[in-house]
């Protein structure tokens, strides 16, 4: 593929978000017309793929469902191939606020940090259920125990990464445990990281689509077994 010179790619893993995806993409496109948006549909069973076909957006499709981690890695590789320097990972359910992206990119451009991680505990998290709040606090303890990195929010899908400097940044965990794996990659590649506030908009839709408590246990097991079998 011909190498272009785009500075920023916003990578969005997509799975069954037909109700909101078009709105999320139009909002992003209007806010950042200079950025490339890469949507990776992870074999949605609804009409998400067609709804995501918004003008000037790169649309990729997995022919089988692999998981969010795999979709992110596909998007990151594609962004590298078209010559992007920075990648912003952004959720497709509309819970992230596009206005936060500029602060993340501004911080990366200073070249003092290699990865910027979003934290809902530094920003605003409207209507966050108390159970989720405690679960996320527990997960940062787990992340600290497994990687030695203490974060205020270790499972936030909002990140900005300097992929030009780290072409070997590779997510191997296909499913949801990729969030913990990314922290482990930061440690392995010795990346300079910083947390910035990000605002999460919880509503009945995003809460319905979010991870359940039971699934969190699966994610932990997935991560531990995946790490053991590396």
């Amino acid at each position: 593929m011909k190498k272009n010179r785009y500075e920023v790619a916003i990578v969005i893993p997509l799975y069954n978000e037909e109700q909101v995806i078009a709105k999320v993409l139009v909002e992003l496109k209007n806010s950042y017309p200079e950025f490339i948006i890469v949507v990776v549909d992870d074999c949605s069973s609804d009409n998400s793929y067609n709804n995501a076909c918004v003008e000037n957006i790169y649309l990729l499709k997995h022919i089988a469902n692999l998981g969010q981690g795999a979709a992110l890695q596909t998007g990151i590789e594609f962004a590298e191939e078209i010559g992007c320097k920075y990648v912003v990972t952004f959720d497709s359910d509309g819970q992230h606020n596009p206005n936060d992206i500029e602060f993340f990119i501004k911080e990366l451009r200073k070249e003092k940090y290699d990865i910027i991680l979003g934290s809902r505990f530094l920003g605003e998290a409207e209507n966050m259920p108390i159970s989720k709040r405690y679960l996320l606090k527990l997960s940062r303890l787990f992340t600290w125990m497994t990687t030695g990195i203490w974060l205020t929010d270790s499972h936030n899908g909002f990140r900005a990464i300097n992929i030009e400097k780290f072409p070997n940044f590779e997510i191997k965990q296909n499913r949801m445990s990729h969030a913990s794996e990314i922290i482990s990659i930061i440690k392995t590649l010795n990346m300079r990281y910083k947390e910035l506030p990000c605002n999460i908009r919880y509503n009945s839709y995003t809460l319905k689509k979010g991870q359940s408590m039971w699934n969190s246990i699966n994610i932990v097991l997935d991560y531990l077994i995946g790490n053991m079998m590396k």
Partner: protein, 108 residues
């Protein structure tokens, strides 16, 4: 009892023919399967022999020895299968990813 023994021999024989003639296995692995098959066959037909073998390893009864071996082999098999599945997943992921990148479209 004889029905159970015949069933065990049948399962063992099916396993033997499935693995012993697999082209993927090395000669040492095939030999281990042949030896294992005959030892287990002997234990099923003449269970009293397993007691004698168990005593050689300091285990009281032959049935305990069989249980230990079964648990160890099953665990080993689980690990081997997990690694196989993981490797297959890796290959499938790579194929799907390359396909997705090749068929990327810029929406108009």
């Amino acid at each position: 009892m004889i029905v159970l023994k015949l069933f065990l021999i049948l399962v063992l024989t099916v396993g033997f023919f499935t693995f012993a003639f697999s082209s993927k296995l090395k000669i040492v692995q095939k030999l281990s399967i042949v030896i294992g098959y005959f030892i287990l066959f002997l234990f099923i037909v003449y269970p009293q022999y397993s007691d004698k073998v168990a005593q050689l390893f300091g285990i009281g009864a032959g049935k305990d020895l069989v249980l230990y071996i079964t648990v160890s082999l099953t665990s080993l098999m689980n690990i081997v299968l997990y690694v196989e599945v993981k490797n297959s997943n890796k290959a499938v992921t790579r194929i799907i990813r390359d396909g997705a990148k090749k068929s990327a479209k810029l929406c108009e």
